[in-house]
Amino acid sequence: MGLEFAFWIMAVVMVGAAFAVLYLRNVFHAALALVLCFIAVAGIYVTLSADFLAAVQILVYVGAISVLIILGVMMTREVQKGNPVNKMRLPAAIVAVVLLGILVYVVTSTPWGISTQDPLTPTTMPLATKLFSENGFILPVEIGAVLLLAAILGAIVIIREKKK
């Protein structure tokens, strides 16, 4: 009962924040609404007993991605003006409607299997065993580190001054 109540609050906040991102004229306010949306998604993860995923959502999305987006907003020239309407409005609307149709079709037509087992809580410890123990996913973890290395190198390339 309480869980369902929490889910509906999170869902309403999430959808409301997403609409705020779309309709707020000020890009900075839209970025803040996006952060609220991320927090609500973390709440949804908690109601699904995915506590580690919720912590990651807070840490990475609310913590880092939002910093990235807000810094991006700070680098734009006209924050208050927002996005001016351009010629791509109609094609964008068509693509959005098609995407929505595909998503709704897939979600409603998929036979979702519901497990009869109780969810595993807390999830962090079994996850650590899966990732770092001797017969765990060692190689994917190290490949993930290589991906992070590539991200840092990409950041260096972005800020490097062009050679004269």
Partner: protein
């Protein structure tokens, strides 16, 4: 387990209510004519946050800041890997330690490269 998260939810509710009440109290007191209202220019000036601004407050920031945001993002994702390892430190033993050392080393190669390339210096 989930009840603990209920407390976090309660914390959010209290935080929202607290900030709303703090905004509503002066408005309500003004409305009930408990506090007098005779504004003057000094009262209405922005004195809390230092000086008055010159020019626009929404200036365009230097794009060099973006590098720090990107590196922060990369290290943040690294922390996501370190966190479950730290929780299960004893059970994983030395093998887990070696795995994490390799993980951190790979990411630090990028950090050292940035240092050598003088990307961390402000020009």
């Amino acid at each position: 387990m989930l009840a603990d998260y209920g407390l976090i939810g309660l914390f959010f509710v209290v935080a929202i209510l607290f900030s709303l009440v703090m905004v509503i109290i002066p408005i309500a007191l003004r409305y009930l004519k408990i506090i007098p209202s005779n504004p003057n220019p000094i009262k209405e000036s922005i004195f809390e946050c230092g000086m008055e601004t010159t020019g626009k407050t929404w200036v365009q920031f230097n794009f060099h800041y973006y590098f720090y945001a990107l590196v922060f993002l990369a290290l943040d994702v690294l922390v996501v890997f370190l966190y479950p390892w730290a929780v299960q430190l004893k059970q994983l033993g030395p093998f887990g330690l070696y795995v994490v050392l390799i993980l951190v080393f790979i990411v630090f190669v990028g950090y050292i490269y940035a240092w050598k390339k003088k990307a961390l210096e402000w020009k």
